[in-house]
Amino acid sequence: MKAWMPTLLLLAVGSALAAPITMEDQSQLTVPPAQAAQFAPPAEGELPDNAFGKLVREGHALFVDTRRLMPDAVGNGMNCSNCHLDQGRLAHSAPMWGAYPMYPAYRKKNDKVNTYAERIQGCFQFSMNGKPPAADSLQMSALSAYAYWLSTKAPTGVELAGRGYPDVPQPQGGYDFKRGQQVYREQCAICHGDKGEGQKVAGEYVMPPLWGKDSYNWGAGMHRINTAASFIKYNMPLGKPGSLSDQQAWDVAAWINRHERPQDPRLVEGSVEKTRLKFHANDGVNLYGQKVEGVLIGQGTGG
């Protein structure tokens, strides 16, 4: 064996073991450790029957049926409620009541102070791979009103227990695609399909696609293996949260996020490498712009 082979092997292992997680964006989002969340959003019956209540109801409809109701803004097969379970109410599932009272806030992702509307626009650009509605549009007002209502009686500017997805520390041995594929086959494919394609009824997604042209793009927070592992550990399989080990969550998150998806809309001069350096090199644990088994990841689905 040539002398440089061990070095190459070490490099290959290194990418799987990854350096300490530097959290470009999530570092700002301090998530309290998982614990019983104290905050409870208001019950449906408490919604007033007036103009405000009507706007909240519109926002709720957009939140749970986003793709159908906002075809111009959503460019893939996702709804808000796919990543924010129970209509944006569920603790440890990035609930709206944990997010709304934290804005305006500075985000490194776009290097400015974001209003809540601007934060949602980011969701539309990346997680929904679409075209964000204008900040002063009726749709944006409705989505903001719904989040505001869910935050009723929540303190402003306080990091509430249950916000975001709780961190799942990277296992000491890193992650493994083969094991991840196994977890995927056994636990995920029944709903999301053997090829991550999701499942439709009458042309509409019921179970969201996890990769491919109708899934979140390479700029979405969920493309980070650490973020996906956190979401999965605390929310999946649906109805059985916490049933996967930390290792399984990381393995399957890595398996999902090694697959192609729509290109990062911030693509720099058509170059995956330049985009990696600018936006992905310090963004948690992700595979964008890296080679996995000789194939460059992050080329996009071209759709």
Binding site: R57, L69, E186, C191, Q199, V206
Partner: protein, 216 residues
């Protein structure tokens, strides 16, 4: 014999081969299988396969073939228990199970109601059906069984068009262990987390879609 006619006759033989040897799904449905113990489906499930609601006999028409054949195999192994269906499933051959499942899947079912997850649900049954109760780890029924309970893919059967008493019996089957054939144990936890009243209310919700908004 010309080369062309050889090819034509040869093709005809090849095409006829599987038909001549495959079990006839329609015949099993109307007349039963080769073993007399495998009685005709339509006797209990109705001439259109849509079930007999008054007796609690479920709809089979339009259910996914993979789901139907799995149930028949599961009655054989005992992971699903039902005194009438168990001996019947054991009397069917594997080929007959495949054939009758495909035939039933091809029969038209009534379309599921166009109930969307859009409205904020005020009454507890609609809320449970559409959104679930996450304090008990119960997802909304339609999140897996599709809008209006239409069914999704091969694994998640339709709830729409099933008799209420059938749906109640299934939920109770998971609760008491007489049914344990749910893939990945996705139903057993949900059923056990539900109360008796909720089991009945949810069954009514999907069995009688014309009045889904009825308050308890």
């Amino acid at each position: 014999m010309t080369l062309l006619s050889r090819v034509v006759i040869g093709s005809a033989l090849i095409l006829a081969w599987p038909i001549a040897h495959a079990a006839d799904g329609q015949k099993i449905f109307t007349q039963g299988g080769s073993n007399p113990a495998a009685m005709a489906c339509l006797g209990c499930h109705g001439p259109d396969g849509k079930g007999i609601a008054a007796a609690g006999f479920p709809r089979l028409a339009g259910l996914p073939a993979g789901y139907l054949s799995k149930q028949l195999h599961d009655w054989r192994t005992g992971s699903r228990k039902q005194p009438v269906m168990e001996p019947l499933a054991k009397a069917l051959t594997d080929d007959e199970i495949m054939a009758v499942s495909s035939y039933l899947a091809s029969l038209p079912g009534d379309p599921a109601p166009n109930l969307r997850r859009q409205q904020i649900a005020n009454d507890p049954t609609t809320r449970l059906a559409l959104y679930g109760d996450w304090s008990r780890q119960i997802p909304g029924c339609v999140q897996c069984h599709g809008p209006g309970g239409s069914g999704v893919g091969e694994q998640f059967p339709p709830l729409a068009g099933q008799p209420a008493s059938y749906l109640v019996a299934q939920l109770n089957g998971w609760r008491d262990g007489s049914r344990s054939n749910d893939p990945n144990q996705l139903m057993v936890g949900v059923a056990k987390a539900m109360t008796d009243d909720e089991v009945v209310a949810i069954a009514e919700f999907f069995a009688n879609p014309a009045s889904p908004e009825v308050k308890p």
